[in-house]
Assembly symmetry: C2
Homo-oligomer: 207 residues x 2
């Protein structure tokens, strides 16, 4: 499992001339780091008398951040698997007409999967951005800078996942499928743009 | 060594109620991922006849990205160590006047170090952003999305490192020291702002 690789081994593989792991896995790991840091801010806040007024909210944020972290950690490997399925489909035989039809069908199916994986990553990152806003506003101010790192990590991951949605959706022949995914993605991106700057500035204001 | 932790263990520690690893280490890892992805794009470009015209440039970018990756990977642990030194200094005895003087001196020294570490991280991230521009413009278009992930990762890391510079510089009594560091940091941030959008858009244009 890729999540059991050491940081050094993961970085070495990322920097190598192999196709995977690549930007999709890096995006998922960045998103998972964002979720982890939201969780860290909550851990420094919940169960402390000083923050009793926000305790229930911060527990909810913590649970949601941990769920998002699980999704994003799983996406590190899912991105590699989706890429491998696309490559395997392109490698299918194409000598007979029947083989050509089977190959084209397999490629299109694999591309749909390779679009869904980064889109799910983008959705989870958008959630981490929303959660980081609560952590930045109500979390223990001693660790508020970690909420600022969280929002930037989740934003970088969202923008990165977007590139992989565009790449794969662009080769899908089912226009209804791809345009629905791109539309959802662009709504996530549009919502994030203003939010990220506002959350980062809120963190700076509480430093 | 923290770089020998698995991705899963690193994420678990990041999400925990322990102060370290925290946002500073996450920032360094994001920067290292950015450098690694610039390296990956170069690996798919150098030594190929089709890209002979940019071969020398891409080899230079690869070398520089690998150097930055080393600096940023080392910064994952350096951030923890700098934080621990600050905490150790705050924990020094302060019963006698002599102890108070020694403690204050140790705190100030540790804070200077804890400012230099994220500033060095920010410098390396600014370099990764510049390198990602070359990878995005001249690298193998089959992996250009990885240059887009690289620039977003390096940007998130730069903004994150900046928060740690602000936090620590804000407690330093030597105004000359802290204002020089903040000035350098703000020049790095200002240069990055426009560049990042331009590089990301260039990537989208080559998808």
């Amino acid at each position: 499992m890729i999540k059991n690789l050491s940081l050094q081994a993961f970085l070495d593989q990322l920097a190598s001339g192999a196709s995977t792991p690549g930007g999709g896995s890096a995006a998922a790991l960045m998103g998972a780091m964002g979720a982890a840091l939201v969780g860290m801010v909550c851990q420094f806040t919940v169960g402390r008398e000083k923050y009793a007024a926000v305790d229930a909210d911060m527990r909810r944020v913590l649970d949601a951040a941990e769920s998002a972290r699980k999704v994003l950690t799983d996406a590190i490997a899912a991105d590699v698997e989706a890429f491998d399925r696309v490559m395997a489909a392109y490698g299918m035989p194409k000598d007979s007409d029947a083989e050509k039809v089977a190959r084209t069908g397999a490629i299109q199916l694999a591309l749909k999967d390779a679009t869904e994986v980064p889109l799910a990553c983008a959705r989870a990152c958008a959630e981490v951005i929303r959660l980081s806003a609560e952590a930045a506003a109500h979390g223990n101010p001693n660790v508020v800078s970690d909420a600022g790192v969280a929002v930037m990590a989740a934003y970088a991951a969202l923008k990165s996942a977007a590139l992989n949605v565009y790449v794969n959706a662009g080769s899908i022949k089912d226009d209804g499928f791809s345009s629905a995914r791109v539309r959802e993605l662009e709504a996530l991106l549009a919502a994030a743009e203003g939010d990220v700057t506002r959350i980062f500035d809120a963190v700076r204001g509480r430093l």
